[in-house]
Symmetry: C2
Subunit: 417 residues, 2 copies
Amino acid sequence: MDFLTIAENAKKASVEISGLSTELKNNALQKVAEALEANKDKIFEANKEDLEQAKKLVESGELTQSVFNRLKLDENKMRDMIQGVKDIIKLDDPVNKYLLKRELDSDLKLYKVSCPIGVLGIIFEARPDVITQISALAIKSANAVILKGGKEASNTNRQIFEVLTEALNNAKGFPKNVINQVYSRDDVAKMLEAGEYIDLIIPRGGNNLVKYIKSNTKIAVLGHADGICHIFTDESADLNMASKVIIDAKTQYPSACNSVETLLIHKNFKHANELLENLKNAGIKLIDKPDSWHFEYSDKILAYKFVENVDEAINHINKYGSGHTESIITEDKANAEKFMNLVDSAGVYHNVSTRFADGFRYGFGAEVGISTNKTHARGPVGLEGLTIYKYKLVGNGNIVDDYSKGIKSFHHKDLEI
Amino acid sequence: MDFLTIAENAKKASVEISGLSTELKNNALQKVAEALEANKDKIFEANKEDLEQAKKLVESGELTQSVFNRLKLDENKMRDMIQGVKDIIKLDDPVNKYLLKRELDSDLKLYKVSCPIGVLGIIFEARPDVITQISALAIKSANAVILKGGKEASNTNRQIFEVLTEALNNAKGFPKNVINQVYSRDDVAKMLEAGEYIDLIIPRGGNNLVKYIKSNTKIAVLGHADGICHIFTDESADLNMASKVIIDAKTQYPSACNSVETLLIHKNFKHANELLENLKNAGIKLIDKPDSWHFEYSDKILAYKFVENVDEAINHINKYGSGHTESIITEDKANAEKFMNLVDSAGVYHNVSTRFADGFRYGFGAEVGISTNKTHARGPVGLEGLTIYKYKLVGNGNIVDDYSKGIKSFHHKDLEI
């Protein structure tokens, strides 16, 4: 099927699923979880084919070992994948929630109601478990989705998609074509131009993928390219706390987007030498004259710099940061407040490791991704980020002319939700 | 000053204003209102110069009379402009509102707090009153703004900007460069490419302006191009109500974006002939075979079509509409509910004229514009649409490693806001 037909079908499906009850959506998710369980051997089989191909590419140096690892589906990942779908069943339905109920006049009521966005375009790299996670999130939030995975995982992606599609086709009252998948590189180009059908693009992958997508589409993109996080150690910081937090933020998972990349130290912090010594002893390589302050090491490497005061720290972060997550270590509440108010990032922390920037840790139950956008959704994005709202207005033949002539008048009374 | 310097200054100003108290912002708005009052003669003088130029262009046919009318500032418009600023003083401060307070652990608290978006780029056509309205909205929501108005109004725009700037420079504690204005066509091109500095573009003007901007920038754009609104007269509709509502929606202000353009009639509606007769008698020109169903007449012209049922009406609207506002006239509650759930538009109405789609009528107090976007803000956008949020996390040296090793655990308890 060509891309435009798929996109048109997805758009139709997005309307059909938008009216579906929570019960029918949860039932469909339950069928998906069961089908994955029942067909896991088929999926492992398909994954083996991808792994064999990928192994050759690793040997010839065309693929990195880490991509190979992400590609591999084992019993543990399969269990997590199925559990992930079951977890989404338990989450609150994010659509059809009343955000406002207002009487404009005695016979004219306005309702602001959450609703799905429409059609999501998902472009992801090696990890085939993204398919089930995003599909489950899309189903729960009543969005249709068009998936495009990495070609290294194409056998696995096809097999998982087949299992999902069959399960959904058999789920009671569930519309066709909610979940769609495309496979070619051409389809990515078409997806990025399909603003008529696709309402939001979500890239799941490395910097280069995200940057490429952001600079090649006019459709809204939810995500982040860089994760250049900062920690500012203020004059009054506690040495032990600073050491502990920075070591966690740099070494607990160095390639994560919420790892710290730059340490700013107040010039009057008395324990600076001990702090740097502690970091070195934790295996962190320190750089005091980096080529660029706007760089994500994704490794146990940390750039550092002394600053005059909290203002210089704030300016540095707003200039070189990526708007992801920044933390101040201080015992001075006024400085903490200033930092948290004036640093323009999705996450602004006080005496906490930057690694907490995560949907599960925030208690969202599931995560679509982390956004550094300044509109729609920012920071770790849960199900709510896949919704928008519409205004429903119910009257009794009300016309504007009556209000403009003063025959009737608005009284704007908010009702309890 | 060149555009990039202005943009850099605006970005700095956006950080400075983000921490400003409601009191200081309201004080600045009060100074603006007073300065407009004190300097209105200067502004009228500048407006006269623009009108003289514009008059020549109207005579030579290069400018329409309606643009000339929008350009003209008289005592009434000046009064409305000043009152608009005063009204914004009275509105709730949309920033620094807690949207979520959650204990992740006994010593780790998460706050989701509303905050300004950053720098807004406003591109508007003839109406010089847009400057004060948008500047006041930006100040209240703590955003910086770069304005670019139509060249026909350049003298008026310069004069109003001068008055505003002087008032703000004298306002207590108010940062410099919050409100900026540029004048050349080149600056528009630079603005559309300045994603590093500008977070949101808001076009205020006709279809062509909005379409041009949407297709020439990667920055998020808030607004709408077309306003192709529909009314569906169902089988069970009341003839009088249908006539009254459609006449209001078409004739009360035909060039408004929330005027109806297409009437869909259930094939079994018994009073179809009388309805069409009533519309004709109200001076509406009816078209039963339009060249396109995706067309905004902006005049007392209405396309109409008979449909099989509510489903065909929904499909027609989702296919040819612009996602603005649609209404169903029916006595059948089930059909009304179906229509309102499945029509994918910012406004879905039951027994109401489409003309109610407006921030003031919704009770927002002020309107940024009407958005047909599927992300961030939809429908009439008030002050809230100029905000986003950040996550503040306050702890006591908390590190992720403790939670991942099970030494500590999350308890995710929501606190009262």
